[in-house]
Amino acid sequence: MDLASSLLVGLVELAEVWVLFQNVPRLGGVEFTQILLVFGLADFCFSMADLLFGHCDNLTTFVRAGTLDVFYLRPQPLLLQLITSDISLRRLARGAVGLGALVVGLVLNPIEWDLGAVVLLGLAVVSGLTVFSAQFVTAAGLQFFLINGSEMTNAFVYGGRYAASQPASVWSRPLKVAFGFFFPMAFVAYLPVIELLGLPGPQWLPSWFGWCAPLAALWACALAALSWRQGVRHYQGGGG
């Protein structure tokens, strides 16, 4: 049941993109088949990161129940205990939608398949997965400070996923700064895709940035490490 509903959510989101492109042939210099590639890449990376690190969302619950105190008492890393506390297979269904869109996108678009293209795609998947995972950890680190603030951190985790599946060329400047660089969402899918397709990039985001996805991933990890470390040290215990 869970599996089916999350599959449906994935499909609805895909349909949303399709409906949008039924009304305009091009958006931000990108066509539907091209955005399909962006969507597929972003969604696949996000779903896989969600599968691995999605349990970071439950941190508040663990803090409330005092389970986190127990995690501190075991000779294993806290983060490892947190992400392995459960595993939901329904997240695989989401991944299937993303993977499907990605494969269809790769088939429909005229891509010159040389070694460079394969490496670029590989880098993009690994980096995208890392960026989203880092976002989950960053959000979890912030939860230590904002016990009831999961809505706020969800806004940039899930908002980030949404941002990553859009063409960055339609963003206003503040958005480019926020989701292009600070939370490096443009590097997850949009930039690698335009580089792969040989399209020109918008202002501030030239297409060769597509090769810099690993740098963006490193940056996201640094941000996550900082947030998590500060959070763990800030922890005040669950009462009792």
Partner: protein
């Protein structure tokens, strides 16, 4: 002798919201404690005195605001993971078992988390199951256990990796007399055999009397007393009381050995006698009373920790 716990000027403050502003609350205030290997220490104090905060700093959950702490020779926050192998903790109000898993599976998971090899695991689990009589409920999921059974499983889980230091935070809270007794006996045997150091917080004077050879009393984050339980009773008179209902109105029972007559009610039908548990026993007092008059009913009250702490505090001023 090896030092297991050492704190110097250990303090922890919490910022709490107070209306619009913020207020700083000092939970632990410049605490200096030294516990040697093999000791059994009762750490007592009223609610909110800073007991749990101290424990959380000892095991690396909380970062101290000031001061130093060394547990098993390690800095708890920085070396949390290696420290976790040397310390076993039971929080009476928290479970470290898996709610939906059978007890034996919880033990197997914990053994894997602590990296015990198959041989160690078998030996230690077998020993704990036998000592705590857990055979009957091993296959039940944790959620179906009674409180007494669950506490036994919790203590076993905390001791599975044979830690050098065992910290018990209210281990007997809510337990019936029999379960308390069984748990205490187990802890005594465990100490005798492995030389485990024990730090125990409790509201139950019985726990302290039967398990601990040293008592630390903390009040408002500060150490108010450090010494033996006998000394504690001596300084503040933590006495037990025997309340007897007599068959007929009797003059005040002032001649019973080692007791002090406190009060008589109902024209002498009910009388309260205070006695020091170090010098006599409830049974002996009762026998002495029965020689003089027929006893219909009786009850014994334990000295209450809050009372003891209050009296220590009053005595210091």
């Amino acid at each position: 002798m090896t030092t297991i716990i050492e704190t110097r000027g250990l303090s922890r403050e919490f910022r709490v919201r107070d209306g619009l502003g913020r207020r700083v609350v000092t939970a632990v205030d410049r605490l200096d404690i030294r516990v040697a290997a093999g000791e059994a220490v009762g750490y007592i104090g009223a609610n909110g005195a800073g007991k749990s905060t101290t424990i959380k700093m000892l095991v690396g959950i909380l970062v101290p605001t000031a001061g130093e702490v060394l547990t098993c020779g390690r800095e708890p926050v920085r070396e949390r993971r290696s420290l976790a192998r040397d310390v076993g903790v039971v929080f009476g109000q928290r479970s470290q078992l898996w709610w939906d898993l059978p007890v034996c599976d919880s033990f197997r998971l914990l053994a894997a988390i602590h990296g015990l090899d198959a041989d160690q695991e078998r030996r230690r689990t077998g020993e704990l199951i036998e000592r705590m009589e857990m055979e009957e409920f091993l296959a039940f999921p944790v959620r179906q256990l009674s409180l007494g059974q669950r506490m036994r499983a919790e203590v076993a889980a905390a001791l599975l990796h044979s830690p050098r230091l065992v910290i018990l935070d209210e281990p007997t809270i809510g337990l019936d007399v029999l379960s308390k007794q069984r748990l205490r006996e187990f802890l005594i045997a465990e100490r005798a055999e492995h030389g485990t150091t024990l730090l125990l917080t409790t509201h139950d004077m019985g726990d302290v009397e039967r398990l601990c050879d040293r008592v630390l009393v903390v009040d408002r984050g500060r150490l108010a007393y450090d010494g033996s339980l006998a000394g504690l009773s001596g300084t503040v008179g933590a006495r037990r009381e025997l309340i007897v209902d007599l068959a007929e109105p009797t003059p005040d029972l002032r001649s019973v050995a080692d007791t002090e007559h406190l009060v008589s009610e109902g024209g002498g039908l009910r009388q309260r006698l205070a006695f020091d548990a170090e010098r006599t026993t409830a049974a002996r007092v009762l026998a002495a009373v029965s020689e003089q008059v027929e006893v219909v009913d009786l009850s014994v009250t334990e000295p209450n920790i809050e009372d003891v702490v209050r009296r220590i505090y009053a005595a210091q001023r």
